[in-house]
């Protein structure tokens, strides 16, 4: 897929939407074990991940809307890219760790990876 045809703002807004969908996927079914099922929000550490997704999504949305971001010494898209890579790591850790994976965890993986790819593409554009 060629990301060069998409404008910077469209990529950033796309990444922000991915973060929103990632947050929603935290509340979907991640694990099914017979009659018992659990969501991403049943994992004790989910508030930390929620905060990371909100901050990353907020940064790319604000940058896409050309708002002033109070990060003087750092490139906002590099911070957002890093935070999204933590989200991908989080989902992969649980994919390898839990049995009976359900659709929610795959959606979380897809949204976090798409968000990361879009934000990384903006970051590469910035650093060239």
């Amino acid at each position: 897929m060629d990301l060069q045809g998409i404008s910077r703002e469209q990529k950033e807004m796309g990444a922000a939407v991915c973060m929103l969908l990632f947050i929603i996927s935290l509340f979907l079914k991640w694990q099914t074990f017979g009659p018992i099922s659990g969501s991403g929000a049943d994992l004790g550490s989910w508030p930390l991940v929620l905060i990371i997704a909100l901050v990353a999504g907020g940064i790319v949305a604000a940058d896409g809307l050309r708002m002033e971001i109070p990060l003087r010494r750092m490139n906002p898209t590099s911070v957002a890219t890093y935070l999204m890579s933590l989200l991908v790591f989080y989902v992969i850790v649980f994919i390898f760790a839990i049995d009976g994976l359900s659709y929610g965890v795959w959606l979380a993986l897809i949204f976090s990876v798409i968000g990361l790819v879009l934000t990384f593409s903006v970051y590469r554009q910035d650093t060239r």
Binding site: L43, G44, S45, P47, L48, Y82, S85, L86, F89, Y90, I92, V93, F94, I95, F96, A97
Partner: protein, 130 residues
């Protein structure tokens, strides 16, 4: 005995702290009320090998860069290791935030990973300044 500059010393310190974090994964992190023994960082999840490999790679790269391995000159090691090292801190923080009945291993791992991140970032800053 080779003489190390500021960058190499900081890289070696970050590498040692990262290596110690890998060891701290095998210390008891949480108590189980004395019923089934203690949970270590490594046996908490089947996927604990993932952060272990990431931090071990970051530490090895820093150490090799400090002792000047020629093949690494094309790779920006301090920057790459600064990217990798916080994954150990993130993994530790996930369980410290979620867990109860902490044992010393969790705090040791948290301290080591935080210090490793700080020293890896210091190496990156020194490297950028040239």
């Amino acid at each position: 005995m080779p003489r190390f500059g500021a960058l190499e010393r900081v890289e070696i310190l970050a590498a040692v702290l990262g290596g110690l974090w890998c060891g701290a994964l095998f210390l008891p992190w949480f108590g189980m009320g004395g019923v089934e023994g203690d949970l270590t960082g490594a046996n908490m999840l089947d996927s604990s090998w993932l952060p272990l490999v990431i931090v071990a790679v970051a530490s090895a790269l820093l150490l090799l860069d400090a002792i000047t391995v020629d093949g690494l000159r094309s790779l920006p090691v301090p920057a790459f290791s600064t990217f990798l090292m916080p994954f150990g801190l993130f993994y530790t923080a996930l369980f410290v935030l979620a867990g109860e009945e902490f044992l010393y291993g969790a705090w040791v791992a948290l301290g080591l990973s935080a210090a490793a991140v700080v020293f890896a970032a210091m190496a990156w800053v020194i490297d950028r300044r040239g």
